[in-house]
Symmetry: C2
Subunit: 649 residues, 2 copies
Amino acid sequence: MKQNNNGDSAANIQNSLKQYTVTFLPFDISIDVPAGTSVLDAIKKAQLPIKATCGGKGTCGECLIRIISGSYRPRPGTKLSQQVISRGYSLACNTQINDHLTIELPQFQELTIQGTHNSVFFENRKHQLSGIYKLNPLVKSIDVQLPVPNLEENYSDLTRIKRALRKMSGIETVRCSYPVLQTLASTLRKNRWQVSIVLSKFGDSWLIIDIRSPKAQDRIYGIACDIGTTTVALQVIDLSNGKICYSVSSYNQQLKCGEDIISRINYARTPDRLTELQHLVVLTVNTLIRSTTEKLEISPQDIYLASIAGNTTMMHLLLHLDPRYIREEPYTPTFNQIDLISARDIGLNIHPDARVHLAPAVGSYLGGDITAGLLCTPVPGDDHQISAFIDIGTNGELVIGNREWLLGCACSAGPAFEGQGIQCGMPAAEGAIEQVSFEKSGSIRYKVIGNTKPKGLCGSGLIDLLAELFIHDYIDRYGKFNECKVNHKLVETDSGIGFLIEEAENCYWGKNLTIAEKDIANLIRTKAAIYSAISLMLKYIGINSSQINAFYIAGGFGKHLNIENAIRIGLFPDMPRENFHYLGNSSLVGACLMLMADENRKLVNDIAEKMTYIELNSEPGYMNEYTGALFLPHTEMGLFPTVKSIIKR
Amino acid sequence: MKQNNNGDSAANIQNSLKQYTVTFLPFDISIDVPAGTSVLDAIKKAQLPIKATCGGKGTCGECLIRIISGSYRPRPGTKLSQQVISRGYSLACNTQINDHLTIELPQFQELTIQGTHNSVFFENRKHQLSGIYKLNPLVKSIDVQLPVPNLEENYSDLTRIKRALRKMSGIETVRCSYPVLQTLASTLRKNRWQVSIVLSKFGDSWLIIDIRSPKAQDRIYGIACDIGTTTVALQVIDLSNGKICYSVSSYNQQLKCGEDIISRINYARTPDRLTELQHLVVLTVNTLIRSTTEKLEISPQDIYLASIAGNTTMMHLLLHLDPRYIREEPYTPTFNQIDLISARDIGLNIHPDARVHLAPAVGSYLGGDITAGLLCTPVPGDDHQISAFIDIGTNGELVIGNREWLLGCACSAGPAFEGQGIQCGMPAAEGAIEQVSFEKSGSIRYKVIGNTKPKGLCGSGLIDLLAELFIHDYIDRYGKFNECKVNHKLVETDSGIGFLIEEAENCYWGKNLTIAEKDIANLIRTKAAIYSAISLMLKYIGINSSQINAFYIAGGFGKHLNIENAIRIGLFPDMPRENFHYLGNSSLVGACLMLMADENRKLVNDIAEKMTYIELNSEPGYMNEYTGALFLPHTEMGLFPTVKSIIKR
């Protein structure tokens, strides 16, 4: 309840002195706030991510929360039906705290698998890896029992450690970080000369970055992180055995400053806003670290290594570098590859001397997410045949080549397949429809991640839906409704007439799940941008799609991408289906490979060195290709013989 | 004038609003202070060094200043004669600021030569150097004209620089510091792709630590620094030509926390006091840097490299390391050698990414000042003969050996020869008597540094004085006055009866210059500690002094150390005079050699590795040796045949 100037101020003041504890899930993070605080303010105070485009006016409906325990007064708004409210949902901006509450932030469901052991995780992908798959990280921990100094052997504490390390593990060149040196004398004596030494490799020498009590439960951890324009994914890896302990992801909090790269670059044009963007992306990663380490019951200080993959703009913003020259001709980034960043430099909440390795970029529009992703494919290692790799995120990037050569290009696909800009779209998280098929009866079958009521559709679901609408002639080749055929399925939506996927009562939000022509047009533009990039690259190289041996697909579509449907809508060329391989988030897996073995860091640098970037926009015929692809599946039906035959049938 | 509560408060308040500018010499540093501020407070506010043991009560007389311009009201105190006051002297604690003033801080006269060109400086010492004498510093500056990026060549800014450096100077492995990266894009464009790149060598690779406009006047500088327990000396070196631009020194501001190493270690026993000591030594160095760079009209940011030599305790305090274990058995320092410190780490006011190299120590009582000093002697490079090196500062350290072996020891000599603890003593600065001889007529001849009226005696002057007193039978072998012979020269002093060196009217301070028996006893204790260390080391090795080929002497005695007199008082063994070589501040020269060529840094590490420390205190016979040396020249006159023959004569 907001304070009204109605004379009841004494009670209000008294009430405002009360403090309530609010616990946020899935992060399991608690803070105390004064009574009367809005949940939105509490979320901001806890430095947790929340999207609220309208700024707390209650109009955008994005700041959805679910109250798990504690009493609160539900306030119906235009955006939430009574049915949804009855299940505990509320808008954070519209809810005051007057009790101890446990609140779930549904926006930040974990999107990826948890606790997967690497032997399972990587074994399935082994044949798809260019990177090596063995554990040899740049950080290690060695337990030593030092000889106690006496008058005959009173060499310095540091010399004592160096000698012990040389004797125990043959390490010759050891340096010591200044922070470790500052407490070295007391640390050694407090632990009675028995300590665990954490070393980080630096060129040919090892740097002591921590000295700890040699407790068996103190492991050394690393994090692998994929920083996408829309979502950020993070894995915590136990560097002593290579096990992936936890995977988690959330929206990139920079989203509120713009949905795509160009709008972020525009936003960053003042120093303050550049700083804001840097803080937001670090806050996103730190929130994931905090949530993960609390679940694992480990200290963030025990994370001694990080590897991060992301597009060039994201990496510039992460390092607080002005990204304007990425956008201005001739599109020159400040750096492609750098290896001297520590967690302290950028404010990552792990051990301050943890090295942070960034996957190397090729150029302004071909970033480290792509080079890291290629590590997870056989493309850069293939001797004889030509293969292709495509990563469809907010931007689409395509690489074609083999061991000898790699050509890459980028296209502004837009985030439609990540669920952004599509009313019924959402990331591949709990509640997302990931598979759709239309029954002969006319009913719609679908599969929901987490087997809940559906909240929306993720990329793979949207591709299925679009393909089924097209194949069943509910939409024409332009993406317009064939009203004579689909009329019975059309309903009113906020965006005009739309196709009804599921009725309100069966949906998570208690609202109809629909797709409007506007959304279909958005999806077609996106698939056209991707297809025309593929087509143009093949022409540039002088081959056709039948000469592509294998086609690796990365992106956040969801676990099950239906290749048949992707071809039916004209997203990918009409090639034998068995040549396509869906990888999921290859950028994250690549970052994980870089973390686990230093050899992979060298491999990924080689990949970046070897790759040539092709500027598609400056290729003649670009607009023709794109315009031709703005149909389902394409203007030239001859390019899609299998689709043509289905439609005829 | 102090404010009296006499009703005149309105005028006082008005006056206190006035600000006056005070300029301090020799630093040439100005600050504005409100009217009525004491000069002592102004000096503290300006963060300039001042010694005031009594804490500003006007009783110790140490905070002497000289007012060069501006009006002030002189206030006679117990410590200053009217004659001294009439020449502009005053006590800082006792002087209020009520005008713009220019004030000289006599304590901080520069003690060393200024603007000496290295060709002169080192040429004279060349035959005494183990270190190489060529210019090859770890920092260099390279001017590059980068190709302007275009769509065909739009690789990153950093790649552009790396390619240019490879092309121009063959440097293969280049990294970039994070601060440089953060402004790289705008720096390159602002300077139209023509820049001067400052590189610092780091292992086998070069690190870009600065990128500047390529102005001809922007040179790159380094500093060499000797941090002694009593005095700190600093040189600024132009790293593009090896020229020593400026030399300056002052008291170590830690002096107020204790005069010797042990008292500093005791003082540092709480974290706050350790921090205070760290700040004080950095403040001392920063003050010398500020004063020097202002005189040279260069920016401290243009200093890109530092090398520092000092004893082990000083280096621990500089790095904010708890020094207690240096003092506690078994006397284990935290480190002897470390090479990862940057100016930023310790707060040195030079370029924050400037590397700071510390001369390596051998152990708790044989520090980097000694290894650096040995670089300036042929001792560690001599193939055949055995030589000795002794550095007499607040502590005395002795090293004997050759190319094959080096044995070192230390003794707590005390700072008597640096002028501390002797009423008429002072460092070898302007106004110090550096040579003394007694005429047959009975009059005393002396030479004053700077040809001013004498203020006191530096080490070489004290040695001369003691020898002359002894040879002329004015004192006996115990250091007591032979009253029958010297009666006419004895006067009352603050410390009892003393020998009159010069009468008040001829002295700088307008007070008699005298030496009391207490001071003589102090000098004898110091010389006994040094001689007994030499004697015991020779016995330990199993040689006698005639087998020492050359004897190198370092310390702040002054420019002219009279070896004959040093032997007469029994400070050094009775050896052929031509075998002695006086080096001056070899620690500073060694630091300078380390700065100028990386090869010397390796040489000095080898010296430290090779050296073995001998704990004299635990040697049997130590007390016997010391007690025997508490006479002039020694109990056993047979050890000093040439002195014996003079006395007989």
